[in-house]
Every structure is written in structure tokens, then in C-alpha cells.
Amino acid sequence: MVPMVKKTRLNNLASKLLGGRIWVQAAFLLVWLDPLGLRWHTMCSPVFHCYACPLATFACPIGVIAQFSALHVFPFVAIGLLVAVGAVFGTLICGWVCPFGFLQDLVAKVPTPKFDLPKVAGHFRYVMLIGTVLAVPYFFGEGHPLFVCRICPAGALEAAVPNVVSQAIAGEQVVWPNAAKLIILGLFLLAIFFMRRPWCRLLCPLGAIFSLFNRVSAFFLRFDANECTQCERCHELCKYGIEPEKTPNDLSCIRCLECTKCSPQALTLRSIFERTETHHPSR
């Protein structure tokens, strides 16, 4: 008997887009890299992209939360945006939309040996969020060396490096970023060749926020035990050390949806609002 495969429009769309995820990420650069020179820095984006970058359409939500924490002002806009976006998409933002994740995905295509991280290391993201984004700015202000923007590799790569280069080209006195930032940038650039998404998995405070929504977001991964043949192919497909059949909406998942490629389609992208149609694949 041929098993019944549950198909939905969303599922079909996800299957079609999956092979071109990198192109979807590239297309989103047109939103984040400010090709029209809008510089809407009065509004936050839902992605990790430094507002000091010469090519930034919106303000970085993490930078804004940290700065507002230093000012002792509640960041209604940044928190409201992240709650609303997180409730809809969860970490789909990380896997499909974020430019800093895209950069790491591109470098991961370089054929170098890749090392895995212990899963528990992902919890360090919450330490980063509470420590460098909330507590350090609140108690010590934006001048503290552990203030998130002072150690952020995205800021170093997207803002400090272009500024240093433009100063050098213009023949002005070059203002170098602090040593800690340069060291962190160096370590990050080294790490992305030997680990998949080291920033996202180890330290990203924005990913930490979105991951909290994974279990309640409108889009989620569904595991159907009836379809599973226990071949464990999803373990091979997941590059982030998750066992998707056990925790399909794991906190560490970036929702790249690679695990949905498993042939019995035991794992599928679903939305809480859709109806499930069933069809027989043999027909």
C-alpha cells in the first residue's frame, strides 16, 4: 500500500523554494543593503545588520535595544517588531532573510573541514542577550567594553572595515576600531570557514530572541510519526546537530528546512492557519 502524503500549498511552495534558498537570501539583500539610499534609521529591521554600515536601510534591533537599555528607556518599537515578526516566522528569519546568516552560509560553501559544536553551546546566545545587550548597557552604559556593539563582528565587518577603507582611500587619518573588536572579527572570519554559522549558533542575541517563538510561531515544522521510517536521514540533512524528529521546533533550529527533504516527508513546514489536503502520490 502506498502511504498517503499530506500536501499543503505552503508545503509545495517550501519544497520549490528550498533548492534556491541562497537566492531568496540574496534577494532580501535588496531590502537590507539600501540600494535606494533611503536610510530609514528611524525604524528597526528584524535582521542582524549594523546601522553604522554605509549600506543599511534600517536600524539594527539589537543595537537599538542595547542603546535604549543604556539610556534606561524601554524600546517599544524594537521589542514590538521582534515580538510580532517572531510570532509569525520564528527563526525562519534566520534561515531565509538575515544578511549576516547569508554571509555565513556563503562561506560555508568553501570546502574546508567543518567542526561541530556541542548543542549546549547554543545557550550562550541567551547569556549574550541578557549580558551584553541588556545588563551591561543598563548598569554600565554604552562605554563599557562588553557593550554588544563594541564586540559585535557584524559591526566590525559591515561598519568599521568600510569606514577604515574609505578613510584610507580619502587620505584621511585612519581611525582603527578597538583591539577587542579586531580580534573578534579575526576569530569570526576564521570560524566561518570551519563551522556552519558560528555566530548564529553560539552568540547571536537576535537568534536567541526569535528561537523563543519557534514553538508558538504561525509557521512551524511538523513531524508526522506515521510517515517516519526511522531512516534518520533528517539527522544527516540537518547541519546543526539537531534531531528533527525529536524536537522539530528546537531552539537551535534556524529553519533552513533542509530536513524537510527527507523522502517520506515526515517533516513538513506548516502554518497554524492552513487546512491539510491529502492526496495519493500514486494518482
Binding site: M43, A78, V83, V85, C149, I272
Partner: protein, 90 residues
């Protein structure tokens, strides 16, 4: 409808409620921040009477270039006079 279907339906209902609450909460916070929330900001030089109320979007823009700081007395103060800095000093 089997008992399993009932459990799944309840889970889905709970998820929809949680989703709706979060979206409404997020949208309300966002709307309040954009439309109503403002903070008094003192100029770099001058007394408290010269403070101006800045909307949250304007404060985000100021914060993104390091244009505001919290002084020892807890007041928010501009870090420049005249033209705003081009980029965040960090």
C-alpha cells in the same frame, strides 16, 4: 474524530491563541512606540528648560549614531551640537 485528532485540534487552537496574543501585543507595542512614546532629551549645552521631547523613531535615529547618552543625573542628553555624527562611534 479520534482522541488523537482532538488532542491535535486543541494544540492547534492553543497555538492560534498564543500567536494572536503575541501578534496583537507586538503590534500594540510597535504602534505605541511609533505614534505616542517620546522621551525628553537635553541639548549638549543648556539647562533643563531647553529639553525637547523626541519621539521614539527620532530617538532610534539619534541612538544609531551615538547622538544621545545618559548623564550621571539620569537625564538623556545629546552628545553633539549642530550637525549629527555620521555614524555610531562604537
Amino acid at each position: 474524530m479520534t482522541s488523537k485528532d482532538v488532542v491535535l485540534a486543541m494544540t492547534k487552537k492553543t497555538k492560534i491563541i498564543a500567536f494572536c496574543v503575541l501578534v496583537v501585543l507586538g503590534t500594540a507595542l510597535l504602534a505605541y512606540g511609533v505614534l505616542f512614546h517620546s522621551t525628553n532629551v537635553l541639548p549638549q549645552q543648556g539647562d533643563e528648560s531647553a529639553a525637547i521631547a523626541k519621539s521614539e523613531p527620532a530617538l532610534i535615529k539619534e541612538a544609531s549614531v551615538g547622538g544621545v547618552t545618559r548623564d550621571e543625573s539620569g537625564k538623556i542628553k545629546q552628545t553633539y551640537t549642530g550637525k549629527a555624527p555620521a555614524a555610531c562611534p562604537t
